[in-house]
Amino acid sequence: MSEEQIKNLEAQFEARIARDEKIEPKDWMPEKYRKTHIRQMSQHAHSEVVGMLPEGNWITRAPSLRRKVALLAKIQDEAGHGLYLYSACETLGVSRDELYDQLHSGKAKYSSIFNYPTITWADMGAIGWLVDGAAIINQVPLCNTSYGPYARAMIRVCKEESFHQRQGYEIMIKLAQGTPEQKEMAQDALNRWWWPSLMMLGPTDDVSVHTAQSMKWKLKRKSNDDLRQQFIDQTVPQAELIGLTIPDSDLKWNEEKGSYDFGEIDWDEFWQVVKGHGPCNKERMNARVSAWEEGEWVRDAAMAYAEKQKERKEKQAV
């Protein structure tokens, strides 16, 4: 294809996106579009799967049968999200095994929030409320993103995430209304998860890369700082409602802007965790890698068995 033809295709492609048409797997797309989407969707898929680990910690220790069932169902949803996001990635011509390789080798990233430890039951509440809550704010705009399979996956994912968010908040309500010990547990969890949740909305706009391109492709609709403000404005009243205190002494309602002012985020901590030196980066990676390595003989067996079955069928057909 000549350079001019490519330019033409690109122009048509961008025009389709501007008209809000969906791009489908078989459509022509610029290489950069494909790569960016593989990166973002796989990072999202990995986050769902690694995210099962911190909550998985509490399945065996959930305080009641009802909570155990709800937690299991939530984690199962996250695994499902991983599954459809990997499938959406596969439509761009990359295999799941390749994507796992990228995760296990440390080449691909996943959401840093899952590198924090879950040390008390209240963390199950805080994660649902804050982490799923921040994820929704990041993800709702993706329901209208330009790549069809991603947009459709996100519609399903977001529905379930908002259910998770309510479920998490409900755990917090129960603790906040409980005994002093329970209330303390809830406050402690909020103290530990608040700042990392704000970091989930990404670096501040002045240092954030690829924003313009992402806006054009509808991978992003609002800036990180706007999303963060939205998250804070939505969450602060929820904390107040249940008598918990946001751990930020600079947090103040700003009448003029109609939103909250808030304190400085510790970006050194953010980069430390992103670069692999958070409290649980090693544990999470080890857990994923050993599940994968210890599962190899199982996957091999399933493949060998399927192969044998196919041969048997072919023989029967003869």
């Binding site: 799967v49 099962m52 680990l53 998985g56 399945i59 065996t60 220790r61 959930a62 305080p63 009641s64 049968l65 009802r66 909570r67 155990k68 069932v69 299991l72 169902a73 984690i75 199962q76 695994a79 499902g80 991983g82 599954l83 990997y86 039951w121 755990i171 129960k174 603790l175 409980g178 005994t179 010990e181 329970q182 857990a287 050993s290 599940a291 210890e294 599962g295 190899e296 003989w297 199982v298 996957r299 091999d300 067996a301 399933a302 493949m303 060998a304 068995y305 044998k308």
Partner: protein, 251 residues
């Protein structure tokens, strides 16, 4: 208490699902593939769902203000009456699937009989659980076949798991005093009558999976009397952790 035997009888059923559900729950996020993770979580979820119905009923029979959670999480180790099979650890995926398979085959036969119980609550729980248990049985049988008739390595691992767990199968068909009383009243299932068809069905699947049926005639028992293997205590310390550390709170 309305009926001590009925209460004990319900625990005998429920504890199996509770302990197995707990074991399957341990695997979440650590399985050999995302699909098996989802399936194992699903089995765990089904079992805990059943467990809740049983303990809610047991709580009603006990009539002493204890809740489903008190019964599930606040008994002493000698008061759990699950069979030894279900408390065996997730040594590897072959053990997990073999344990599941050896239980599912029994569970399905058991529920099909329990459905005929003249106790309407138990019969209703059985009806609801049969669908789930037959899905579990299909899933675990499929894995017996895949691993048994997969690679040399998987065959060896599966055979080892079956050999290791076989000793716990006979206990499934032992009757306690409460069992006998409930059978007499048309409430309970006579498990002794399930034994023959169980070993026949299990044998067929194992053979189809190119696995050998263990010949050992030495069996372990004791779970139904609350005499467990050493594994159960550790499992209970997780299961009971919150209820013991923060007593009398609501979650």
């Amino acid at each position: 208490m309305k009926s001590k035997n009925l209460y004990k009888y319900i625990l005998g059923i429920a504890d199996n699902s509770l302990i197995l559900g707990q074991r399957m729950g341990e695997l979440c996020g650590h399985g050999p593939s995302l699909e098996t993770d989802i399936a194992c979580t699903n089995i765990s979820l089904d079992l805990f769902g059943q467990v809740r119905s049983y303990y809610q009923y047991a709580a009603k029979i006990a009539g002493d203000n204890r809740t489903e959670d008190d019964i599930a999480m606040l008994r002493k180790e000698r008061e759990y009456v699950n069979v030894l099979l279900v408390e065996q650890p997730n040594t590897n995926f072959a053990y997990t699937m073999a344990r599941q398979f050896l239980f599912d085959a029994y569970h399905l036969l058991f529920l099909q009989e329990l459905e005929k119980s003249n106790d309407l609550t138990l019969s209703a729980i059985a009806t609801k659980s049969i669908k789930e248990a037959s899905y579990h049985q299909r899933f675990s049988s499929d894995w017996i076949k895949r691993l048994g008739d997969g690679t040399e390595e998987s065959h060896q691992k599966m055979q080892e798991a079956i050999n290791g767990l076989w000793t716990y199968t006979d206990e499934l068909f032992h009757q306690t005093e409460a069992d006998k009383a409930m059978v007499e009243q048309g409430v309970g299932v006579d498990v002794t009558k399930l034994k023959e068809v169980y070993y026949k069905q299990v044998g067929q699947i194992l053979e189809g999976a190119t696995l050998e049926i263990p010949e050992s005639k030495w069996f372990q028992k004791g779970g139904k009397q609350g005499i467990h293997t050493e594994h159960l205590g550790y499992l209970l310390s997780d299961l009971q952790y919150m209820q013991r550390t923060y007593p009398n709170m609501s979650w």
